[in-house]
Amino acid sequence: MIGILKSMAQTARVVFRKPATVQYPEVHREIPNRDRAFPVLIWDEEHDEPFCTGCHACERACPVECMTVVMKDNPKHATGESKRRKIIDEFWIDYGRCMRCNICVEVCNFEAIGMNNTWAGHELSRFDRKELVMDLDQLMAQSKAGKVDPGLRA
């Protein structure tokens, strides 16, 4: 009997405490700087081109093989605007398969890829799983707009 009253008192006490709920769609709570949502490519502001040189290191290191990298000669290098001889041509990441393990970021020697740490990196529900395969533009859009500053680069 006493124990029962005790537990009922406990629940009653909780009624007067503050609910822990964060009202999600309205309130987006503070997301840690190191948050690892999904890998995105970083945009090199001064040369106005991606850092990525398409060196395939991340592609090789990805445990689930969800990346595809195509490399090409850098036109800007010919004109001398940039020191990068090679540059990324095509880049696909299948977010539907990525396990967010951060390895691609660690192996990249050019700090060209980083983990998205914004809410945009999480709210990615799609009606068709093909739409989860992100191409180069989608991968770079965010950092082009200067919206992402990955807490975790290599």
């Binding site: 124990g3 029962i4 406990q10 909780v14 190191r34 445990p63 967010r100 393990c101």
Partner: protein
């Protein structure tokens, strides 16, 4: 079974199928209970619904990639899983992990024990028929812990933070103070759950003398962790075979007298308090700064040939990793000794003769992780 007229009816036991989808078989465990009236006369566990070849895949991965799969195998005690895995590799490469890294590992592992036991408390309350309240109480605290983990490692569940030789990267600057905050809330949460369940007569009536298991039986089934300790065997790897830096802390190992469901609950409750004690000591001894990876850390992880078995005390018991290497950067053979599996093997003997409702309680008291059973 068709009834024949004219001779005595053999009274059949009603086979009841629990799982793979059932609110109270944790994950996709399936058991077929033969029930007579309300009494369970036979149990046939069916596992393998979650067998996804984690070990085999890890043999195809190098040592860094494997860590992620270790996480996903023991998804309630990820830090322990990682620790077991990286310790195995470190033993092979005989790397000396710097002190600071060791302390942070201990702190995070113990916090992880808290979060895992909170999960148990919640689920156990549900099994006892408590309408979600224990679950919510537990998860309020669990969320705090997960937030801390996320700040440190960058993910809520799959941390991949312990690396061979040390840690992936430095902890955050306000780590120590954040841990203190979280611990304060966690103590509050433990008190809440204590008030809610421990002394409640109905809860006692449901738990006491249910699924009692003697020390002898427990050992013979190779059980470990809270279940073994609840049966009265004071066996705890942190105490008997201290790995990491566990030999530098004072704490107590709770040991039960009856080995029934209630004792398992109490042991876990007490372990949470002990974990908090350990964490506080570790925070005191934690070197303010220092390396988190050895100085001469090789660029590529290549192990010499050999084999090693490393084990840690996970919230469910002895989590062991047996690793054979023939050189190179991949394990040649990898076997995980999953505590959930060994504990689960005792289910049949515990359950037979109990009530139908108690079968659920007993399964709940084992606190299994299905991916860890099937791997």
């Amino acid at each position: 079974m068709v009834l024949e007229q004219g001779h005595a009816v053999e009274i059949v036991d009603m086979p009841i199928n629990m799982g793979p989808q059932h609110p109270s078989t944790h994950g996709v465990f399936r058991m077929v209970l033969a029930v007579n009236g309300e009494q369970v006369v036979n149990v046939t566990p069916h596992i393998g619904y979650m067998h996804r070849g984690g070990e085999k895949l890890m043999e195809a991965m190098d040592f860094r990639q494997g860590i992620g799969y270790a996480d996903r195998t023991e998804y309630l005690a990820q830090f322990h899983a990682e620790l077991g895995y990286v310790m195995a590799v470190e033993r092979l490469m005989d790397l000396k992990v710097p002190d600071r890294a060791e302390y942070i590992r201990v702190i995070l592992s113990e916090l992880n024990r808290l979060s895992s036991h909170f999960m148990f408390m919640g689920a156990f309350g549900i099994d006892a028929g408590l309408f979600g309240t224990s679950f919510t109480f537990a998860f309020v605290q669990r969320e705090n812990l997960l937030d801390l983990f996320e700040e440190v490692s960058g993910d809520r569940l799959m941390y991949a933070y312990f690396r061979v030789g040390g840690l992936a990267w430095e902890v955050t600057d306000n780590f120590v103070q954040r841990v203190h905050e979280v611990l304060k809330q966690a103590q509050q949460g433990i008190r809440d759950l204590d008030d809610l369940m421990t002394k409640n007569e109905i809860f006692m009536g449901r738990c006491q003398n249910v699924g009692a298991f003697s020390a002898k039986q427990a050992i013979s089934y190779g059980m470990s962790g809270p279940l073994l300790r609840a049966s009265g065997v004071p066996w705890d790897l942190r105490k008997d075979e201290p790995y990491s830096v566990y030999d530098r802390f004072n704490f107590e190992v709770p040991v039960g007298n009856y080995g029934d469901v209630y004792d398992r609950y109490l042991v876990r409750l007490e372990e949470m308090k002990q974990s908090i004690k350990i964490i506080e000591q570790a925070l005191e001894q934690l070197p303010p700064e220092g390396p988190i990876v050895p100085e001469k850390m090789p660029r590529r992880l290549r192990t010499p040939p050999g084999e090693v078995y490393s084990k840690v005390e996970s919230p469910r018991g002895e989590w062991g990793v047996y690793l054979v290497s023939k050189g190179g950067d991949k394990p040649y053979r990898l076997k995980m000794r999953s505590p959930s599996f060994c504990n689960l093997s005792a289910l049949r003997e515990m359950t037979i003769g109990q009530y139908l409702a108690d079968a659920v309680m007993i399964l709940g008291s084992m606190d299994i992780v299905l991916c860890c059973v099937d791997r």
